[in-house]
Amino acid sequence: MSIDGRAFAAGQAFLLSAKTYWTRVLYPAVREEYGKSKDLEGSVLYQYFCWLERHLQRFKYSGRYGLQPYHAQQRERLEKSLASSPAELRDAPEYPEYYTRIDIHQHPGGVWSDPIAGFVYERGARSTTPLAGGRHRDLHDRLTAAALERCPAPSRVLDMGCGFGKSTRPFYEALGSGKVEGIDLSAPCLKLAARDATGAARFRQVDATRTDYPDASFDLVTSTMLLHEMPPAVVEKTLAESARLLKQGGRMVHLDFLPASDGFSRLIHFGHGRRNNEPFMEPLAGMDLAALLERLGFRSVEILPFEEADGTLAPEYRYWRFPWALISAERW
């Protein structure tokens, strides 16, 4: 039986309200409990906290009102809308094992295997951070502002792991047509990105660890939420490729997640990685990125907490949030 639009929207809204409650009420309560005992072993509250994080996401993608079945009902129309997308795709793409082994975000089939995966991912990403609501775009505008502050008026920009183009859009809107390229492994996402960019940016199916661009092709290389999806060896290759692609004096700006060093922040963040099918959160946090970047030919390395919305870095901010971090360096 098909799910109508109202039922889908109501089912998803229920999940978002539940996630918002989890964010605003359960998370501070878990934190308080941890503060008292420094241990959540046996905590019933923490068990429900973990269960909800895991299964609200499962419901979101796979349940009766899930993103995947709802979009699959509209498969023919959605696929047709991508038919003339100008994305530049490989004839026989090869996907790395780490990329295909796990369905990240609990998205069935991952973000790459189903032709409609870009639509599913796009819709799902609208509610990734419950409190952002309609302001989710702020995050990408803020990253663009931070990048352009460090690298004003770049003539060429590369957005690695661009997905369906959400992170690329503010760059091509700020800089104009013809200056920005997005690369990703996922053909369905690239098709959606290129369709929606209407020629303002180029989108290509290229592995960020071994691109086909000549040395020193870009003034600015960026990524958003890419590094934590990669094992450390792949992160290292991606950063080395960033170094190769940048002109001297060019800037690399990656927005990702690095938890604070305290036990609670790490427990919550690494647990999130497991529960959300993102197993490389913990290994990324264990890397010495500053030393690696210097070894790769970068200087002026900055690894800073990133304020994704007003007030989220204030000490009194109590709600759950991703530990956003800006990782930036200059090529020399």
Partner: protein, 86 residues
């Protein structure tokens, strides 16, 4: 098939709570639809919202409700409804 992650000491609770949340979601979907229907019917003058919302003068559905509650709670008795092995 990969076994689902579990978070409670008894994995039965992991599964049962999934049933609870699925039902809760269904309840919200139904409430949303009913509210939308009421709004559309009221807009067309088919429904008198005030009459619908008012406390009923009599217990209109007592027998139906009691049957519903019995159906729900007889599960707690743990008694076979048809004779069979223990």
């Amino acid at each position: 098939m990969i076994p689902e992650q579990t978070f409670f000491p008894d994995p039965a609770l992991d599964r049962a709570f999934g049933v609870v949340m699925a039902l809760a979601q269904e309840v919200w979907v139904l409430r949303d639809r009913m509210a939308a229907m009421e709004a559309q019917l009221a807009e067309r003058g088919v429904l008198q919202v005030e009459k619908l919302n008012a406390e009923p003068a009599s217990d209109e559905r007592a027998a139906e409700r009691e049957a519903f509650v019995a159906h729900l709670l007889q599960n707690l008795l743990g008694v076979q409804q048809a004779k069979g092995p223990r």
